[in-house]
């Protein structure tokens, strides 16, 4: 079977789409198809790759709108998924494109630097004794140490697509969580503060990053862990944190969300007051009635105990 690859080209300011045809072989990866095109059809086509075995992260591209590692993804699987023998190959989204499928990592490295991306060793470590930690402590961040910086997670990040200036890339949050959870670091607060300032609470929780990570690192989960750590370190004075806390508190106060009060708790009376036109709109169609009394779960005492006991158990495990 022949497969048509429609490749987005970009050379010296000129953009176009170019079609190439390759014959599908069993086990052929997207990267093999690209290499075949470059070697046999068009030497001007540019893309990056290095390890060809899902380790270096250099080969990530978008196929039909989803980021994939080209050296890992089989063409036949894509043909099956999209039920077509025409695939659209583009450079990763939310990156500056240098040429064809090659993207610019320099601005991303500059963003990584915002979180002070190195372990700052505790004073008890020395040249003589080293910087050791127990396997249990290593396991706390081991998963996040596996990032190969492929950029797949940011390619379709919904927040990044709208505005990158006040929000980091998912892999930067992964790196930050690795450092915050690393027992060797003397001041997780410093990384955390930088992360809060650089947009932690602006994440949409859309899970695109987690869905795209070829290493299964769960960047969206890393973001949640960072949020949890900001509460422990009292870095929670912002609207996002107050909103999350209001929801959490509603569970132990009544069992369910008290929607009519959520904005007031999260934003304060003044900001919530500015939303009055929205409240009026909702009242008009009967979606909100400020006079309604919020129901309290009949088992609230047990629920409160669950929250309290769970908090104590979590603390003990720290």
């Amino acid at each position: 079977m022949d497969v048509k690859l429609r490749i987005h080209r970009f050379v010296e300011g000129r953009k176009w789409e170019q079609d190439y045809t390759v014959t599908l072989k069993t086990g052929m990866t997207v990267l093999e198809a690209l290499i075949e095109i470059k070697e046999k059809q068009d030497p001007t086509l540019s893309f990056t790759c290095s390890c060809r075995s899902s380790i270096c992260g250099a080969c990530a591209v978008r196929v039909n709108g989803n980021a994939e590692l080209a050296c890992e993804m089989l063409v036949e699987n894509l043909v099956k998924r999209y039920d077509t023998n025409e695939l659209i190959i583009e450079p990763l989204g939310n990156f500056k494109v240098i040429r064809d499928l090659v993207v610019d990592w320099d601005p991303k490295y500059a963003r990584i630097k915002k979180i002070k991306p190195v372990v700052q060793p505790k004073p008890e470590f020395s040249k003589e004794t080293g910087c050791k930690q127990s396997p249990e402590d290593f396991n706390k961040y081991k998963k996040y140490a596996g990032c190969i910086l492929c950029g797949s997670c940011v390619s379709e990040c919904n927040k990044n697509s709208l505005n990158q200036s006040d929000f980091l890339d998912p892999f930067v949050f992964v790196k930050a969580e690795k450092l915050v959870a690393d027992s060797r670091d003397k001041s997780p607060e410093e990384h955390l503060k930088a992360v809060v300032d650089a947009g932690l609470w602006r994440c949409f929780n859309c899970q695109e990053c987690t869905a795209k990570c070829p290493k299964g690192l769960d960047p969206a989960g890393a973001i949640e862990k960072l949020k949890e750590a900001t509460f422990a370190k009292k870095l929670d004075d912002n609207v996002g944190a107050r909103h999350a806390k209001a929801i959490y508190d509603d569970i132990s106060e009544s069992g369910t969300l008290d929607e009519s009060k959520l904005n007031i708790k999260s934003e304060g009376f003044l900001m919530a007051g500015l939303r009055a036109p929205m409240a009026l709109r909702l009242m008009r169609v009967g979606k909100m009635n400020p006079l309604d009394k919020h129901k309290v779960n009949p088992e609230i005492e047990t629920i409160r105990k669950i929250v309290k006991n769970a908090e104590a158990a979590a603390k003990e495990a720290e």
Binding site: N158, I303, I306, N309
Partner: protein, 288 residues
């Protein structure tokens, strides 16, 4: 066919029409639902950012009540589905964690332990897995009606947890729309996140994406957007005017709960489906 229903806060509050329409539609389809007694909020994808373990135990409690009813759980909200399924997946693969959670449930006086016997599924998935439920019941096939299927994030991702269809290229909602006689339309915003969970923290961006989604569906000729998530519905419906302003669009598109669309095909009216409680584009809906 009977399920323990986890309605979630929003069906009890702002999206009460989603609950009444669900009841009526399930009744017609022969799906029996019984609300999980004294369920609590799933954490709405925020509680785990405050205290992950407490949020996990809260959901273990919710699931354990359904287990005691001897039923699988049906949800109608993407976010509730993700929270419950995440809790279940974590507990089912980690015996130590399950033990820890059960210890907290027990010492707090909750009568049941979490066992892992109830599945957690979504109304949309039930219809997808049992297309025969609709056989012979579509008395008002929605011929000529173009519908934009808006899945929302949490029913698709992460695949490892949600695991129904292909999260990167889902088609099951379009399949259902066709089964109802209507025509699904492809639109640019179909895979974008509505931003609901960041409405307060990133307001401008969220209104922009809300506007983009509605605008792209409108441009694709959609007569309505249908979604299986009441939170997406709320975001797109309530903030449609601000979204329009943010992207300078003219699009006015009604935003339907999935069960309302199904209800129309089953012959029910706008009044039956509580459509008068919608904020945007009331006059534009030409079905029901």
């Amino acid at each position: 066919m009977k399920y323990a229903l986890f309605p979630g806060c929003v069906l009890e509050g702002a999206a009460a029409e989603a609950y009444t329409s669900l009841n009526k539609v399930c009744d017609k389809l022969g799906i029996e639902i019984e609300e999980i007694p004294n369920w609590t909020c799933c954490g709405a994808s925020h509680a785990q950012g405050v205290n992950d373990f407490a949020a996990l135990v809260i959901n273990a409690r919710n699931i354990s009540i359904a287990e005691n009813m001897g039923l699988d759980i049906m949800t109608v909200c993407n976010t509730c589905t993700l929270q419950l399924r995440t809790a279940k997946a974590r507990l089912d693969k980690d015996a130590k964690l399950k033990e820890k959670v059960n210890k907290v449930l027990k010492e707090s006086g909750h009568p049941y332990e979490y066992k892992g016997t109830s599945k957690v599924t979504h109304f949309l998935w039930i219809l997808d897995e049992h297309p025969e439920l609709l056989d012979g019941k579509v008395v008002n096939p929605l011929h000529g009606v173009k519908i934009a299927a808006y899945y929302g994030c949490h029913i698709l991702r992460p695949q490892e947890i949600m695991n129904h269809g292909d999260g990167k290229h889902p088609e099951y909602m379009e399949r259902l729309i066709r089964k109802l006689g209507a025509e699904p339309v492809w639109f640019d915003g179909s895979r974008k996140c509505c931003g609901f969970h960041a409405q307060l923290a990133a307001e401008h961006d969220v209104l922009t994406v809300t506007g983009q989604i509605v605008d792209s569906a409108g441009r694709a000729g959609a007569m309505a957007i249908a979604t299986p998530c009441p939170l997406c519905q709320m975001q797109l419906d309530m903030y449609e005017p601000e979204g329009r302003e943010a992207v300078h669009s003219q699009a006015e598109v009604p935003i339907l709960h999935l069960q309302q669309l199904v209800g129309f095909a089953l012959g029910m009216s706008k009044e039956d489906m509580g459509f008068d409680r919608h904020v945007s584009a009331q006059a534009k809906l030409k079905i029901g």
